[in-house]
Amino acid sequence: AAGARGGAKVVVEPHRHAGVFVARSKEDMLVTKNLSPGESVYGEKRISVDTPSTDADGAPTKTEYRVWNPFRSKLAAGILGGLDDIFIQPGAKVLYLGAASGTSVSHVADIVGPTGNVYAVEFSHRSGRDLINMAKKRTNVIPIIEDARHPLKYRMLIGMVDAVFADVAQPDQARIVGLNCHLFLKDKGGVLVSVKANCIDSTAAPEAVFAREVQKMREERIKPLEQLTLEPFERDHCMVVGRYLRSQS
């Protein structure tokens, strides 16, 4: 796999979703444009590609991309699974609940780029340390070490956002997402929720759990748009995408 860094044969093409790219070599890889070139965040591979200069006789410039592993990131798994709309795009402001150590967050930060913002909420102090360190290198990431159940506690740190992404794996996650949307998400903004059936109810069938979660999101004024299984990357997981409708339809 180290061959991917050889560089000569790799071609990077834009993905259907703005800000996401595909590196084509022996095998195709999902990549994002590295916001702090020269550094990996969690040991992921980097690919450097020559971009022809815009001047006629100028030297080509290097652009660095980081490989995004769908087995490690549910958003990457969702993108490879063919999500219709991810609402996360260059310039967007994203509220990320359940940021953990910030590995996936770093890719989201790459996507939204310098004009966007990622508000990364994580309650665990242990992963919070890593998250803060990652955010030092990416100034569009605002780390928030606080319980996503109590969004009022961090209301001073956040503005209005275009999208909410949640990977909190809690039984009451639909409520957590709802509370945060009511406070911070723009009307008609996007909601992406990763649902791990086991974390909600380990006794019921995954399909039944997913259906119940979608219903709970409806009650929080989130209109479901699509539901996608994260197979083969994760077992009994699905990604639910919806649109927040503040007004009654």
């Binding site: 102090h125 242990r126 919070g128 955010a135 780390p143 209301r155 209005m160 039984p171 007004s247």
Partner: protein
Amino acid sequence: MAAVDYLLQETSVGYGLYQVVQQPDTIGNRLKEVQEATQDLARFGKMIKLVSFAPFQGAAQALENANDISEGIANDHLKALLEINLPKGGGGKRVVLGISDKNLASSIKAAFSSVDCETNDVVQDLLRGLRLWAPKLLKQLQDGDMDRAQLGLGHAYSRAKVKFSVQKNDNHII
């Protein structure tokens, strides 16, 4: 329901106090037309009027206030803003202040006997409008000031959380 007279906005750069000029509908609150009014700056700008903005004097003061707000405590900086700008409750006249947090309500009531706090849905919608248009409504702010303040405050707030945690391990929540 009593009409809302004032709104309190808490941001990373300071506190904003707004007067509600045009009372919003309480009944059609979730109707499309009413919701769209908040999203249109021209229309929303006519519903509220900035009374005063109390910026933080530095990162330390901002952090102190962020911590207090998170715990529902009315900081002296906030009390000073309300003291100066809210009308004095002479002759039993009461003022209704719309805020986002019930915990803060009790702290404000304890300090100002003539102020009633309101946190209902109508208030929340107005506060959403303030959050959405904050960089435009606070005219003394430069482009990007709010983002920079959020970044600095987020780091300071989170660093303090991690640093002062007694247990080095995770808090397990079910």
